[in-house]
């Protein structure tokens, strides 16, 4: 699986596509969509989804998703969000509220459009649709800002901070939705769950973060480093995941919050951070994304109408939300448009969200396929759209940015 994911991923990278596209397509080729349909015997021999193999594959996917969310958490920097202040808050608020509101509205009142028939499950479903529209892909945004020459500017940091805040709220909300689902399925009491979750989140982001920061120099002195960091941080991520799972909320939230608490430490250097990133994104991310392709028949469940609706809704939500947010945050119209396209890329996070929703029976396979297609299309279109906006022969946007930046520096 790993080799197939890498080979196909690298093939698509040659065409300037993100690795994740190739990894997903590798899964589709090896899964029921292709190999399972045309060569069922080989498929059965390779990927027998029942018995121990099935359990192992599910276990691997769960571990991968916990690690992916842990790494996503490490990217969130609370002090940066705080320091960027009101502007970042405004940008994130609009960028969050509009997609969330529109997603919720369409999920609530037009759920049939998404192939949903069970009206009893409508609250968590519509909340999920809102979250799915609001979630962003921080790495794609970072890359976009770098292409715009805004990555290390104040504006760039505002957008990064806003996206971090959106992700924090988005994942919190999604965890609550899964908690709601658990409650409706007769699970742990929801108030108890919410109380424990809030206690965990607040505790980890304050006292826990402080203790981790104080302990890391001792660990660095006494353990092999950065190997020791890898073991400790991932161990803590699994502990956090286990706690939130016990509390009745999904394990991802525990790992995500632990990622923030650890990633915020002043003792985590760029090199250490990079090692964790490389380890998770080159081993566990491909395994997860290829497993996504193995789970669902993408050909059978491809409904053009649902795909189109999800795609249009997602693009409109983010362009309007993030664009207006950036505009309110102080960017020009052209800058806001570029940011809108950058933040429109949903990337890996959206696919993780959809996979977990599918596992929780919150969405059907047709909507799942539509969301995966939307995540790929929005990620792929971000590059060309920005290139179009940035190409000096087509548009003078890049020069405008450069001029704005330099004059901004001088005037200040």
């Amino acid at each position: 699986m790993l080799i197939a994911a890498r080979l196909v991923g690298e093939f698509f990278r040659k065409f300037k596509m993100p690795l994740i596209v190739g990894e997903l397509i590798a899964g589709i080729l090896l899964g029921p969509s292709f190999l399972g349909t045309y060569f069922p015997e080989i498929s059965k021999w390779f990927f027998n989804g029942t018995g121990n193999v099935g359990i192992a594959l599910n276990g691997l996917t769960s571990i991968s998703v916990i690690m992916l969310l842990f790494v996503a958490g490490m990217e969130v920097e609370l002090s940066l969000i705080r320091q960027q202040g009101a502007v970042a808050f405004k940008t994130s608020l609009v960028g969050l509220v509009i997609p969330l509101g529109l997603g919720y509205f369409f999920g609530r009142y037009f759920y049939e459009w998404f192939g949903e028939t069970n009206a009893n499950n409508i609250l968590p479903f519509s909340l999920f649709m809102g979250t799915a529209m609001a979630v962003s892909a921080l790495p794609v945004i970072a890359r976009t800002l770098m292409d715009l020459g805004l990555f290390r500017t104040r504006i760039g940091m505002i957008i990064i901070a806003a996206a971090m805040f959106d992700d924090l709220i988005g994942w919190l909300l999604f965890s609550v939705i899964l908690g709601l689902m658990n409650k409706s399925a007769g699970g742990v009491d929801f108030v108890y769950t919410l109380g424990l979750t809030l206690l965990y989140a607040v505790g980890m982001l304050t006292v826990g973060r402080f203790l981790i920061n104080k302990s890391l120099p001792w660990a660095e002195k006494n353990f092999t480093w950065p190997g020791g960091f890898l073991s400790i941080s991932l161990g803590l991520a699994f502990l956090g995941a286990a706690f939130t799972e016990y509390a009745g909320i999904h394990a991802i939230f525990g790992a995500f919050i632990m990622g923030i608490a650890i990633g915020d430490s002043v003792h985590v250097t760029e090199k250490t951070r990079d090692i964790v990133h490389q380890f998770v994104t080159n081993i566990f991310a491909p395994l997860f994304f290829i497993a996504v392709g193995l789970k669902v028949n993408f050909i059978l469940n491809f409904d053009f109408k649902i795909v189109l609706i999800v795609l249009v809704l997602a693009i409109v939500c983010k362009l309007v939300g993030a664009g207006l947010g950036a505009l309110w945050g102080g960017l020009s119209k052209k800058e806001a448009l570029a940011v809108g396209f950058g933040m429109n890329a949903r990337g890996a996070m959206e696919i993780i969200l959809a996979t977990l929703a599918l596992q929780a029976h919150l969405i059907g396979e047709q909507l799942f396929v539509a969301i995966v297609v939307m995540a790929i299309v929005t990620s792929v279109m971000a590059g060309p759209m920005l290139q179009l906006l940035l190409n000096p022969s087509v548009n003078t946007l890049k020069n405008a940015f450069t001029d704005n930046n330099s004059s901004g520096q001088k005037s200040e």
């Binding site: 690795l19 890359r143 770098m146 990064i160 002043v266 994104t281």
Partner: protein, 288 residues
């Protein structure tokens, strides 16, 4: 024009009748001599005859009883009242003694000096070990990060360094490349990532060179250093490792509160555990 001839023409000393009071006034005398500044002594508390006589005695003893200098006694909440006086008197630099490290509870609740530094609208000098026989400053570590305020901070530090005839000034550029991991793992090869990193660094180096070109450093030895890591934390660590006696930082962009201690603002890393004396530079913002 970046050259700052004398950034501190009017200096306020926050006086408390503590064991370090004499040493603080001795340092004030040196500041007066080196910077040729007008001095204002502020004490917040009930005025008693004994304390008044004692303060006047100290001021006289250290030769601070010049006609332009004055003593202000006020009653009220210490931090807010000092800030009000600074505002009324259009102070350029507020000086206060500060412990190197406060216990955790006091740090979060906020001691007087630290709370002043978080709210004051002029520059502030926090002296961790004021000496009855001041030795001045010999090694300055100055923030040179890519921020609009750095230009003024560097110019101020150079002017201050010249007045005190310091031996070394290290201008430190803090480079936080933690966000690079975001981009690198997805799409970049090692060499591409390094090239981007170098491009960032080159741009910042160029800006710093331009700032230094505009400043007359005289006979000072000015070095530039680049350190990677969390801004605020790494420069404090650097100042401690280099045994600097004055760390010069940009003022925060906004007034800080408890949340900035829980989710530390860059400057809070220095305030949590002062590596040496600390000068927070701010272009005076008073509207007169």
């Amino acid at each position: 024009m970046n050259f700052v001839e004398n950034p501190f023409k009017k200096i306020a000393i926050a006086v408390a009748f503590s064991p370090r009071c004499e040493a603080l006034l001795a340092e004030a005398r040196q500041l007066q001599d080196k910077l040729g500044a007008q001095m204002v002594f502020i004490h917040i508390g009930k005025k008693t005859l004994h304390q008044e006589h004692y303060l006047k005695h100290l001021i006289h003893r250290f030769g601070l009883d010049l006609p332009n200098n004055k003593i202000i006694w006020e009653e009220g909440e210490t931090v807010d009242t000092i800030l009000e006086v600074c505002q009324q008197e259009a102070i350029d630099l507020l000086v206060a003694g500060a412990l190197e490290k406060e216990n955790l509870l006091k740090y979060f609740l906020g001691g007087v000096a630290r709370n002043l530094s978080r709210k004051v609208k002029c520059s502030m000098l926090m002296l961790t070990e004021p000496n009855i026989h001041p030795t001045g400053f010999k090694h300055l570590v100055v923030e040179g990060s890519d921020h609009p305020k750095s230009e003024y901070t560097i110019a101020t530090a150079i002017a201050f360094g010249k007045a005190y005839q310091v031996k070394n000034i290290d201008i430190v550029q803090e480079t936080d490349l933690s966000k690079m991991a975001l981009i690198r793992h997805e799409e970049l090869k090692e060499a591409e990532a390094e090239a981007i990193k170098e491009e960032f660094v080159k741009e910042e180096d160029h800006k710093l060179e331009e700032i230094l070109k505009c400043n007359d450093v005289g006979g000072l030895t000015v070095c530039t250093e680049r350190i990677e890591g969390k801004p605020g934390y790494v420069i404090s660590k650097f100042a401690r490792e280099k045994n600097a006696d004055l760390l010069v930082l940009n003022s925060p962009d906004k007034q800080m509160n408890l949340i900035d201690r829980v989710f530390p603002h860059d400057i809070e890393f220095a305030l949590a555990d002062l590596p040496c004396n600390l000068l927070i530079v701010q272009e005076t913002q008073y509207l007169l």
